[in-house]
């Protein structure tokens, strides 16, 4: 049983924790790419004037946002491979892939709300002007609406990216070898728990506080520019 902080032990486990941190960051970054792209499609789907698209999209977003990421992960990792009348390649993925897909889909639903708010903040006159200019619907979206909506969606999106990073260690529950997984493995191998968890926490702060500060600066800048 340990009582004090052991610097030598900390130095010994630090490189492994850093490796875990890289996995956590990688999961987050790939998840962000999925959330950014899927989120936009969800936002457009929800605005669709075809009820058979807009309603299921809205339900999907509400369902994913109302249920824990951990259970969704368990569903993808443990339950889906048991659905034997679906093809195996569709149901059985490695933990790392499961993690960034689940994280990306979960936060795509949040991202869609950020896009939606951005799209709704574009003045109605822009739509009317596009109609007057006889622009095609595709051109209206691509060249008029989205270029104005997306900058305004960036600050809330940034907040969700930081939140994704904070949720990424949940992957340790399905054996993704991120920073928390390394800390838990170190604990069970050495029976020392203070150093691994404290270092993991500090590593986290070292990334998330600067990231949050960056988002706040972005927030101020966007607010300034749209005034």
């Amino acid at each position: 049983m340990q009582t004090t902080w052991d610097w030598d032990f900390s130095a010994e486990i630090f490189p492994r924790l850093m490796e875990g941190m890289l996995v956590t960051v990688a999961v987050t970054l790939i998840g962000i790419v999925i959330a950014v792209i899927l989120g936009l499609f969800l936002a457009l789907g929800r605005r669709s004037n075809q009820p058979w698209i807009s309603y299921p999209t809205a339900w999907f977003i509400e369902f994913i946002r109302s249920t824990p990421l951990l259970i969704q992960l368990f569903f993808f990792y443990y339950a889906l491979p048991q659905a034997r009348d679906l093809p195996r390649w569709l149901t059985t993925w490695p933990a790392f892939i499961t993690m960034f897909v689940a994280l990306g889909v979960h936060y795509a639903c949040y991202a869609s709300e950020a896009y939606r708010a951005g799209i709704e903040s574009v003045p109605k006159g822009q739509w009317e002007a596009s109609t007057t200019l006889n622009l095609k619907i595709k051109t209206t979206w691509r060249s008029v609406i989205l270029p104005q909506a997306i900058p305004r969606s960036l600050p809330p999106l940034g907040n969700y990216f930081v939140a994704m990073f904070k949720d990424a260690p949940i992957g340790s529950a399905i054996t993704v070898q991120g920073v928390l997984f390394v800390a838990r493995a170190t604990q069970s191998a050495s029976f020392r728990s203070v150093e691994p968890y404290t270092l993991a926490g500090l590593l986290f702060l070292a990334v998330s506080i600067p990231a949050a500060m960056f988002v706040r600066r972005l927030e101020r800048r966007v607010a300034y520019e749209s005034d």
Binding site: S66, L70, I71, F75, V194, Y197, A200, F204, S208, A212
Partner: protein
Amino acid sequence: MPKPGTAGSTFEGRHLLDDLILNSNQYKNLMEGTLVTLQVIAGSFALGTVMSLIMGVARLSSRSWIRGAALIYIEFARGVSAIILLFWMAYALPILFGLPSIPGMLAGILALGLNMGAYGAEIVRGAIQAVPKGQYEAAIALNLSNRDRLREVILPQAVPIILPPYGNLSIEVLKGTALVSLIGLSDLAFETQLLRSGRVRSVDPVNLPFLYLNVLIIYLILSQVIAYLFRVAERRSARKFVSV
């Protein structure tokens, strides 16, 4: 309806509903877990609300050391992520301070409550700042004490601004409670894992996709209840000002 062979856990020969509806023993286990989840959310919500109010007001204090302390708490408790905080509370904190090990329930409530408090404090701060400045000036002109000004004038007007984002935050905390299963607390997520791994004896084989679907629906219902309660609270707090 005759029940076809219950031996296989595949979809073949079974009706969809047989799989979707679990048996009563399985629901009993899930309900026991749900009770633990409800205790964790109640405790975290209470601690989180107290911390939100104290720290949100402290962020606007006229004394700089109080502002600084609140800012440090908020940055730490938000930045470190709920799940890391949870493991740290459960495994590092007791040893670091030479305490006997903390019960899982307490560690869960502490971690989630402190995490919630940091987000909530920012909501409270924003809402207080959104109350028109004339209200402060009027309260000062009426010679109200600092405490009365906050309690009788500012906070009652901040509540309608606090409630909508606070409802969302509460749902986030509900989702966060699933994490306590990872430190061994027997909540809804934990009971689900027991059913999955077959450590709980059940008569029927468990169809995993449908088991998890059931659990997701239970969480969905809990979040909808929280959202409903907040909508009721919003209506009530709005009505209070109409009658004046």
